[in-house]
């Protein structure tokens, strides 16, 4: 059931940390140009799966990925695929804003520079900041440290930083969880705006957020194994309206209506 428009597609993906299985047998497609939300209780492996998509898990020595993930129909973990090249095509925004301790300008220019950007850097910085709806707030202080911004601004700077290298996909791991409601709304608007040009996968604990911004939603859950540890799995993946209004699984209904226990 691989849809022709899938940018990323996972087939029976299991992830281990050391010898313990964290997520098992996840299969899903991320269609091009759509926003996909991952929801589910804490520890069910949403971040883990997300980090498989841009091979950030390579940086965790104990992590091991089984199964297959394809990116534009090529094996993401194939022998000739370079993780660094992949990450410049599949960007990531993290739970806590993590601007570099550099100027706002340099925060944006860094990624472009290492990736050999050949256009006008000033224009790229301005364009990216505009994309992230941050330009008006920072245009007079591009030389100030990125750390001097508010949390919401920092997160938009991180989004601008990701956008600047013009990736195909942006992965967002709970990008609003450290922000206040107003900043959250702004980021949500931003995400919707970006959706035409980018494929976005967003992990969120906020049910309304998932229903507001996403086209599709994947619900993950975790169950206890015999050994006493928890292992995550994909319960249901469908269009967002269906997940929220007529889910196929009992567990999904309980979760989205807040009756999860």
């Amino acid at each position: 059931m691989q849809s022709p428009t899938a940018v990323l597609s996972a087939r029976s993906v299991s992830v281990y940390y050391g010898s313990s299985l964290a997520v098992r047998q996840v299969s899903l497609d991320i269609p091009r140009g759509e926003i996909v939300a991952f929801i589910g209780p804490s520890g069910c492996g949403k971040s883990t799966i997300l980090r498989c998509f841009n091979r950030m898990n390579d940086l965790v020595a104990s992590a091991r990925v089984e199964g297959q993930i394809t990116y534009n129909d090529r094996d993401l973990y194939g022998p000739k695929v370079d993780a660094v090249a992949i990450r410049s095509r599949i960007g990531m925004v993290f739970q806590r804003p993590n601007p570099f301790p550099k100027s706002i300008y340099e925060n944006i220019a860094f990624g472009a520079r290492i990736n050999g950007y050949r256009g006008n850097m000033d224009e790229l910085v301005e364009g990216s900041l505009r994309r992230a709806a941050l330009w008006d707030e920072v245009k007079d202080k591009l030389r100030d440290s990125g750390l001097a911004l508010s949390g919401g601004q920092q997160q938009r700077l991180c989004i601008a930083r990701a956008v600047a290298i013009q990736p195909e996909v942006i992965l967002m791991d709970e990008p609003c969880s450290a922000l206040d409601p107003i900043s959250t709304l702004r980021i949500e608007e931003l995400i919707k705006e970006l959706s035409g040009d980018y494929t976005i996968v967003i992990v969120t604990h906020n049910m309304q957020q998932a229903s507001r911004v996403s086209d599709r939603t994947a619900f993950f859950n975790a169950e206890a194994t015999d050994a006493g540890s928890k292992v995550g799995y994909l319960v249901e993946y469908d269009r967002t309206e269906r997940i929220f209004h007529e889910p196929a699984q009992e567990a999904t209904r309980d979760y989205v209506t807040g009756r999860f226990g």
């Binding site: 660094v84 990736n115 050999g116 050949r118």
Partner: protein, 290 residues
């Protein structure tokens, strides 16, 4: 294409950079090995029982390390006797007794500054205060003056390691004691100190091993370089291992250079034994705490 990642070239630089870090680390350790090998090659032919038991002499073949070794042992014991109670006491006070936080802070700042003062400056202090002003008590340029100076030098290390050791003792132990109406000193002396003692000992030994290798401060207080006897009381003039080594190095004759290398081997063996003791103590300590 707007982007031209040029991965090959970047990976080349990555490999060069990684190699540079390995080479730098390797170089530092290589120098250490070369130094040790050089000293061993130069000095081991001279090592003998005669060398260890002989007093200094104008003839390199007859000269030995006995007076310096004896002086260093005197220094070690006296420095330990002075620095250990004061350092541990100060650490105890700061960690367990001090109520005035500004006093603790002042001492903390003071200690971190003292740690940066060159040892030769301690030597000047020792020269003026212990060797001159307190001459009637210390006998001037005596082994006691040397020990007092070295004690001040290593005091910050002992205080800091005492405090660290005390911090590893769980607070519940103190609370339990206080809850029973015991005074601070009762709680500390009966329960806290015994638990922290191995850690304190480790820190003290490491501090003393710094004192044993210290040269500049002793030269400044005027430790004599030619002392043909082992001190027999604290006010006796003295020489010590590093001073004897310095004396031999700075002579032109090759024979004395060999003696210096042999002296270095003995100094390093003493240091190694002290460090081994400290490591043993530390391991034992870790076991009892877990």
């Amino acid at each position: 294409m707007l982007f031209n990642p040029q991965l090959e070239r970047r990976y080349l630089w990555d490999n060069l950079f990684a190699s540079a870090t390995w080479i730098a680390t390797g170089l530092a350790i290589l120098v250490l090995l070369v130094l040790l090998a050089d000293v061993l090659l130069d000095g081991s032919p001279r090592l003998s029982w005669q060398f260890i038991t002989s007093l200094p002499s104008r003839k390199p073949e007859l000269a030995g390390i006995a007076a310096a070794l004896g002086g260093s042992i005197w220094l070690l014991v006296l420095t330990a006797l002075i620095a250990f109670p004061i350092g541990v006491g100060a650490g105890l006070y700061l960690e367990e007794f001090s109520i005035e936080s500004w006093w603790s802070r002042l001492i903390e700042i003071n200690i971190s500054n003292l740690a940066g003062v060159p040892s030769i400056i301690y030597g000047l202090l020792g020269l003026q205060v212990f060797a001159r002003w307190m001459q009637p008590l210390t006998g001037g340029r005596s082994v006691l003056t040397g020990a007092l100076t070295l004690a001040l030098l290593v005091l910050p290390v002992i205080i800091v390691s005492t405090r660290e050791a005390l911090r590893t003792v769980p607070d519940g132990l103190r609370q339990a004691g206080f809850a029973l109406g015991a005074t601070r000193w009762q709680v500390v002396s009966a329960h806290v100190l015994p638990l922290a003692l191995p850690g304190i000992m480790t820190g003290t030994i490491l501090a003393l091993s710094r004192a044993i290798g210290e040269t500049a401060a002793l030269i400044t207080i005027g430790a004599l370089t030619f002392v043909p006897f082992i001190p027999n009381n604290p006010t006796s003039p003295f020489t010590a291992l590093p001073i004897q080594i310095y004396n031999w190095v700075s002579r032109p004759q090759q024979g004395f250079h060999v003696n210096a290398a042999a002296g270095i081997i003995i100094l390093m063996v003493v240091l190694m034994m002290m460090n081994a003791t400290a490591i043993l103590l530390r391991n034992r300590f870790q076991k009892t705490l877990t």
